[in-house]
């Protein structure tokens, strides 16, 4: 069975999530999109504002999808998939979930990636975060929820770019420091290049940007970003132990981890790793390196993790695995 892509549109209150979604759904490529909208209040309104050529818009209300109604989200997604399989609804080709403005996207992604009833049928396409060009900087200062939303994004859409220049206000630099791995797109009245938002896969070698792995360490708003590097290849066992150790001890301090790994057992075919907090995709194997740099590079976005500690852990684990290796 081909897994259906799902994407999460998140962003702080008033940052333009619904406007973006409404514009996207008018695009011909999104005719076959099922939409789940979460609203915090008892009476939802946002779904009334979304114009769609299809009726596949579902409302989750009465709580926030990242906490109180997470089970409802899983059930709703499961129901949608069952109705699609039964031919009871149009055969939609993707699911888009719009969160509340205060939501933490990580538990939503975790729920849909790991629930045994639906995880095989879905695959994460993208976490898209909207940031208001005019009010975004003040929002980042005042609301840690918005900082985490930006840090966890696969793609950041700077909305209302007609009202303010994010470069001039310093917002562009702040977003780059917070999340250097996410492309930043500008939207005016919700209009943005949809193809850049939904590229089909969580990792696309064709879109590899070496600059992402040359990021200097940044610290901003309680979020720090850094890149671990290693010139010599790692054993696969080391990688496995490293990820387990990080998940076990770093907990919610780890926001995102993305890496290209030179693996001893797979010369010339690097592994791609990609995780949202402690939940990871299975490692994927590329047929070749995407550029001339064949070193291991791991970009970490965290809330206070120490780069040197993680680098030391990696080196100690590799040394222990080497000592056990019989090859």
């Amino acid at each position: 069975m081909n897994a259906l892509p799902f994407s999460v549109i998140t962003g702080f209150l008033g940052s333009g999530k619904t406007t973006l979604l409404s514009r996207l759904l008018r695009h011909p490529a999104f005719e076959r999109t099922a939409v789940i909208i979460n609203e915090f209040g008892a009476v939802g309104l946002d779904h009334l504002l979304v114009e769609s050529s299809d009726e596949q818009i579902l409302l989750l209300e009465g709580g926030c999808v990242c906490c109180t109604v997470r089970g409802d989200l899983v059930r709703t997604a499961g129901d949608l998939l069952a109705r699609r399989a039964a031919g009871a609804v149009t055969a939609f080709e993707r699911i888009v979930i719009e969160t509340t403005g205060l939501a933490d996207p990580a538990p939503i992604v975790h729920a849909l990636m790991t629930d045994r009833n639906i995880a095989d049928a879905l695959r994460l396409e993208s976490v898209i975060t909207t940031v208001d060009a005019a009010a975004g900087a003040a929002t980042l200062d005042a609301h840690p929820e918005s900082v985490k939303q930006a840090a966890l994004a696969d793609c950041i859409v700077v909305t209302k770019s007609d009202l303010a220049d994010p470069a001039a206000t310093g917002l562009a630099a702040r977003l780059q420091a917070l999340n250097p791995t996410a492309p930043k797109l500008a939207a005016m009245h919700g209009a943005v290049d949809a193809a850049q938002l939904f590229d089909g896969r969580a990792y696309d070698p064709a879109r590899y940007d070496p600059a992402l792995f040359k990021t200097a360490a940044h610290r901003h708003g309680g979020i720090n970003t850094f890149c671990l590097r290693r010139e010599k290849p790692l054993h696969a066992a080391t990688l496995s132990l490293f990820l387990q150790l990080v998940a076990e001890h770093c907990g919610a301090k780890l926001l995102r981890l993305k890496g290209l790994i030179d693996v001893v057992e797979s010369p010339g075919r690097p592994a791609v790793i990609h995780g949202v907090q402690h939940v990871f995709h299975p490692p994927a194997w590329l047929d070749q390196w995407p550029d001339e740099d064949h070193s291991t590079r791991i970009v970490v976005i965290s809330q206070g993790l120490e780069a040197q500690w993680l680098q030391d852990v990696l080196e100690i684990l590799e040394k222990e695995v080497n000592a056990c290796s019989i090859s």
Partner: protein, 97 residues
């Protein structure tokens, strides 16, 4: 040779960093036998075992014998920071490519 100076420095750094991660106020010192982790209420010796592995000792009592750093950190946390939340790696079913 596992136990060179660089390895000792790195190991002490890993232990110190883990204690900070768990919000445990403690010091880590190296001596000829291994490492000494001292908190306000407890002193633990961490002794490397050839050819690899670890032993955690409190006074005359051996608290554990571990095969590697993952086990060492896990037991240290259980001894010094049992309240620290323990995470678990989850590998989802969804392909990345």
């Amino acid at each position: 040779m596992l136990q060179d100076t660089a390895w000792r420095t790195r190991t002490a750094s890993v232990l110190s960093g883990a204690l900070r991660l768990w919000d445990v106020a403690a010091t880590v010192q190296c001596d000829d036998d291994g490492f000494i982790v001292a908190t306000g209420g407890a002193t633990l010796r961490i002794v490397p075992r050839a050819p690899h592995g670890w032993m955690i000792v409190r006074g005359a009592e051996t608290l554990g014998v571990l095969a590697g750093m993952p086990g060492l950190l896990r037991q240290l946390r259980e001894e010094l920071a049992p309240q620290a939340k323990r995470g678990r790696l989850i590998i989802g079913a969804q392909s990345l490519l």
